[in-house]
Amino acid sequence: MTEKVLMSGNHVIGEAAVRAGCRFYAGYPITPQNELTEYMAGAMNKLDDGTFIQAESEIAAINMLIGASMAGARVMTSSSSPGVSLKQEGISFLSALELPAVIVNCMRGGPGLGNIAPSQGDYFQATKGGGHGDYKNIVLGPASGQELAEVVTKAFDYADKYRMPVFILLDGMMGQMMEPVVFPEFRDVKTLPERPWKIDGAKGRPSQVIKSLLLDVSVEEAHNWKLFNRYEAIKEEIQMAETYKTEDARLTVIAYGTAARIAKGAVDRARKEGLKAGLLRPVTLWPFPEKYIQETAKNNTEFLVFEMSTGQMLEDVKLSLNGSNKIHFYGRPGGPVSTPVEIFEEIKKHYPE
């Protein structure tokens, strides 16, 4: 472990990616994630085995990733909401082609051009699959600079282990905010998992193909179920969430990312006021940590879902509880950053008699 540094979320992602062995980055500028693109420009070009490309578009970037990942490199791209929408075809291809890749969405206010303020409006796109076909991506929603550094490393490892794209979902404020961070050590790229399936010229082996065109319906169906079963396994293996003062909570706030930080402040306030509030903070947004939620639900608490959107994760909470506990919702779409006081008021409002 190295020493503490003060860094913006965007820079943290970049540095953590380099340390995790990322050697190919392609991206296209968009606020509020430009610092990440700029960081990678510097970092990749410092390495003699690193590539940085400022692509002509988000579409070109995601398709460059497809090529670089096929060729065996650990790859990353980043963008913000509108740019991520443009990557959806490519993301569906990455998923179908079973290619490891890390995709960062530093969300801004939408829909449309919207604004550059922090938002959580792209949850559905990331977790349900904004592209076509039956596929899922692992989606990680960190809430601090330090956690960012850690999930970036995880993201690259998951991508390789499960051969699929992994999303890091944060909002503009997390990308811009500086916090103290301690980074993991540099990974030697020679120690990274082998990729026997990669496309690097048929030297000393039969030629091989990476493709997603499966005209034979039975082959395509089998491929779909193969992916489906992998997703089911992942649900078992990697659900992650933080629980805070939930043991005896009568009202448990469920929030991720920036919203969760604010909620935590609100929970502390509530506790000071003698209200048994708690926080359940999903870290994996897909797979959604339903185990944690069902566990917490047992101490029959009510839930307050707080999102910086009109209510998207809310659906996954409902699906996890399937009617077992009462759910309240509070949302702020389009960019406003709530204060802990504001959420505390919501807690009071919904606190069970």
Binding site: A55, G67, A68, A71, G90, G201, I210
Partner: protein, 249 residues
């Protein structure tokens, strides 16, 4: 005892082409396979096929193949080549794939001077999807989306992608050929070979545009299709070298 003067090249698999009778894809596939064999680069070549009739190229070429989404071949090839600079990476793309949806990726890869090679099959139509207008469809030419013939004022003009690319600093070698006669086919093979040599010698971006018959969608016999290319298509798309900055090949 008799010697074999012509037979199937080594790096084509045994699969029967799914192409229609008289389709230029088959001829061009063979030329590419012959060139790969002659240059001895089969074990370091990577093909990026298109979405288009040639999408099944991986059933035919016996080398590593990585699929690209429709139009994104140049971007995918860029990714592969940057990670593996000593491999020979080429895209094989149709006119819809490269000159319509892939316009930006193609132009910018060429402008970056990516050291990749593109085999650009200009058959003036969207073959795979059933004969819609392509950017390269001639003025007046019928297609399923221009039933009365392409009307430039409404449908746009035939797009000369190779000439546009030649204007950029990145490309080193661009030639337009056709596969309508044994003579033209031999010239086409020479061009393809040169394009690969440009990449092997690390000189930059190279492209060969192949005027290629699509009898099915042109609704002509294969023989007439070749005549039509020679007589009409070459008026808008003259064959020959369009740009050549190669050094001592």
């Amino acid at each position: 005892m008799s010697e074999t003067v012509f037979s199937k090249p080594k790096y084509l698999k045994d699969a029967v082409f799914h192409y229609c009778p008289g389709c230029g894809h088959g001829i061009t596939h063979r030329l590419v396979a012959e060139v790969i064999e002659e240059l001895g680069i089969a074990d370091k070549s990577i093909c990026v096929p298109p979405a288009g009739c040639a999408v099944l190229a991986y059933d035919y070429f016996d080398i590593d193949v990585g699929e690209a989404a429709h139009g994104r071949g140049a971007a995918v090839a860029t990714g592969i080549k940057r990670v593996l600079p000593d491999r020979v990476v080429f895209t094989y793309q149709g006119d819809g794939d490269m000159a319509a949806i892939g316009t930006a990726e193609t132009i910018h890869a060429a402008n970056r001077g990516e050291k990749i090679t593109t085999i650009f099959i200009n058959n003036g139509t969207y073959g795979m999807t059933g004969g819609q207008m392509a950017p390269t469809t001639l003025a007046g030419q019928r297609s399923t989306t221009t039933p009365g013939g392409r009307t430039p004022s409404r449908d746009g003009n035939p797009l000369r992608m190779s000439e546009m690319l030649a204007l950029l600093d990145g490309p080193v070698y661009i030639e337009r050929v056709s596969v309508t006669s044994p003579k033209n086919i031999r010239a086409a093979k020479k061009a393809i070979k040169k394009a690969f040599q440009v990449q092997i010698s690390n000189q930059g971006y190279s492209l060969v545009e192949v005027l290629s018959p699509c009898p099915t969608n042109w609704k002509m016999s294969p023989v007439d299709s070749c005549k039509w290319i020679d007589e009409y298509m070459t008026k808008t798309f003259p064959i020959g070298v369009i740009k050549d900055n190669t050094e001592n090949l």
